[in-house]
Amino acid sequence: MKICGRILGALLLFQVNGIGLAQALPELKNFTLRLQGEPETLDWNKAHTPIENYLMITLMEGLVSLDSVKVEPALAESWKISGDRKTYTFKIRKNAVWSDGVPVTAEDFLTSWKRLLAPETAAAYAYFLFDIEGAEAFNQGKEKDFSKVAVKPLDSKTLQVRLRKPVSHWISIPTHWVTFPLRKDILEKYGDQWAKPGRMVTAGPYLLDRYDLNSQIILKRNPKYYGHQGKVDQITALIVADDTTALQLYQTGKLDFLTDFPILNVKSLSETPGFQIFPYLKTVYLGFSFSPNHPTDAQKWIQNPHLRKAIAMSIDRSKIGEILQGKQSPGATFVPPPLTGSSKNVGITYNPKEALEEFRLSQAPKGIELEILILNWEKTLTLAQFIQSQLKLHLGIQLNLQPYDNKTYRAQLDLHRHPLFLTSWSADYPDPDNFLSIFLSDSGNNRPGWKNSSFDHKILQARQMPSSSQRERLYIEMQRELLDKEVVIVPLYYEPNIALVNPRVRGLKLNPLNYLDIKGVEISETK
């Protein structure tokens, strides 16, 4: 019976949707965007994949937000940093209210941060708050009392946070959605099931109106939002997993905005109206494995810096943009532009002649075979084939490609079984620290497994430096060590964010962290 009801429901949905759309379109300003898959969750404490990006930022706000890479006031109208740079005092806007009219208070942040850090929540991004005094111990379960974590509401509109040590980039942490506030009464009422239409309250420009699993998510304008009201009445996020299908939907006018489309189409699409390129903080790199568990001959050869240098010198990175057809720019520093610490003068440049000399110095035998671990995606395969041809051409190295599905690939990366691998890093917060700290000796994201105590020391030193020019100098110095001297990785290219934006849409902003700002979007009547 239940199934019969569901089928009837599915049929009804057909009707309602068909009629609903036909009647509502003329009066309602609707902006349709594409999600690449089903969001894992809309619970902002737990959401951690790029798919949730567009929705989180549109639904909700944190203490501060990002305009491009600059931190701006959001729910907090201002903040003060103490002289020792460890205490942050945020003043929350008086007119900031939730979508049900209840004022946003400092207590709401406490509720959210406590939940984010609680071991039972098992939130992946809990570590974002580890710089706060007592936070790490609370997450480890060593400290059960949350009052020992230095997050204190001084009054209903003032929140004070105390860090263990000064951290220069800390102000970018509360821009991330995992730190967005939560209402205690809503959590108590619905538990982990709060992030659903009819239950979720938001304090951002839009609110969650409807969620059809595997199909679409509809957001409506939040009339209680403190800031400028968005000009679009409704946002429809269509879940379209297949790239080609998404492209067809754009071409038939059913999508206003999409990113990520089939690689071979980029060239022909660059002529289509609506084609736009946005900067993106993402570096794709070639890594070398430093901690082989079962060293083979190839892994022993790769420990030789001359061989790594020879490989780095024999890849002509200026050709990658042409090969991948996605407007990629050749990589130099690991930190991508426009962040401080990025520079064109760091990193090994293409030089086949010197590469051969380095190869000779490495004393590796001629025609050696090396394996490279890659994802089985079309783009990575194309890139790996290019590297394969370059190494064959300039050094006579036989590179064997080892493509795997995503999960197997991640498991293989942890095993360090392949001397070479291709991977990427994209920013969580716009700071060079977010890039370079992955090479800390104890970081789980240190994929090469390279350990260097002086590098670690410099990272921690730079974190505490107040002057940005001093920090920049140190970041450049670190990367000379990482890229020129030790050749731990070879930054191959910086990935831009390519998007198709329907020409009827104006005022759309996409920041380098792939945060979509829909507040300023206007839709002209004529399609």
Binding site: T41, E120, Q412
Partner: protein
């Protein structure tokens, strides 16, 4: 007949369970876990995640827990869609696949049997040879090619039908066509060949001798006999169609459960894989039993229950 049905249903439970237990262990052999992603979380965060989802428990305990929950009708929460119970995911997506699959099954049976009848009736004619050629080509065409060609012609060129999405009756036409294309060809070929055989049998000769018109011989007398092998093939075809097709649902962006067959495995979403497989296994068994029941309706010589 009802007794036979219930008996068969009960007998199939142990086989389904053995199948699920084997799957449970096979899944864990695949490298990588459900929470491995682009980033590696700090060890304490990882420990919290493993604890919350009971992945730190020994395998046999995880299995017992799953079986106990299954006994309570609970399939656990998905590891990928956090906070979403697997039963809820199936309840929301299966009806869509069921609707699409039933429509496709309808098309497949009517088209396959109708044209199979025509081809057998006019065996050796131009129509028969043409149909045979089309069906042979159709069987060897992959579904994504059929779907893409349909979209190219009817959506992008002629602009008659939407290229994707599940928005109204018109959006069901192309996916139903794509989904039923290949099975229709299979049913056509089976019907044609068994019908030709049964047209040569004695009872057809008798009917002809009595002066029964040719269409009556084909669609009334011979077809009933010829349907038995077709019914046998329809069991698995029906199970495949109603549980959704990964490719058709992906290409047309249909919110069915077909895509979980592939995605849940790739994401190592253990509870969802188990749930999807349980449903698929159940339906497969159910369609087999229904086919057996249908045999008895078509052929009175088959007496149900006697062999049991």
């Amino acid at each position: 007949m009802l007794r036979y049905f219930i008996k068969r249903l009960l007998f199939s439970i142990p086989s389904l369970l053995v199948f699920l237990i084997a799957l449970f262990f096979l899944l864990r052999l695949a490298p990588g876990g459900p929470f491995d992603g682009e980033q590696v979380w700090p060890p304490e965060v990882q420990a919290n995640i493993l604890k919350k989802y009971h992945l730190d428990q020994p395998l046999h305990r995880q299995l017992t827990e799953w079986l106990i929950q299954l006994g309570h009708g609970d399939l656990n929460e998905s590891f990928q869609y956090l906070g979403k119970p697997v039963t809820e995911i199936l309840a929301e997506t299966f009806p869509v696949s069921l609707l699409l699959g039933t429509l496709a099954l309808g098309v497949c049976i009517s088209v396959g049997i109708f044209f199979g009848g025509i081809a057998a009736w006019r065996q050796g004619s131009l129509a028969d040879r043409l149909l045979l050629f089309i069906s042979s080509v159709s069987i060897s065409l992959p579904v994504f090619l059929i779907a893409s060609v349909l979209v190219l012609i009817f959506s992008l060129q002629l602009k008659w039908l939407p290229p994707a999405l599940w928005e109204g009756p018109s959006s069901a036409i192309l996916p139903v066509l794509a989904l039923s294309w290949r099975p229709s060809a299979i049913v056509f070929q089976l019907t044609r060949s068994t019908l030709i055989e049964s047209l040569r049998s004695d009872f057809v000769r008798t009917a002809r001798g009595k002066g029964v018109p040719e269409y009556g011989i084909i669609f009334k007398h011979a077809l009933k006999n010829a349907l038995i092998p077709v019914l046998g093939a329809l069991g698995p075809i029906a199970a495949n169609l109603v549980t959704g097709s990964f490719l058709v649902e992906l290409i047309f962006q249909i919110p069915g459960m077909g895509k979980y067959f592939v995605h849940a495995v790739l994401n190592r979403d253990y509870p969802l894989v188990m749930g999807v497989t349980l449903l698929y296994g159940g339906i497969l068994i159910l369609t087999h039993i229904l086919v057996d029941l249908a045999y008895a309706l078509v052929d009175p010589r088959i007496r149900l229950g006697e062999s049991l």
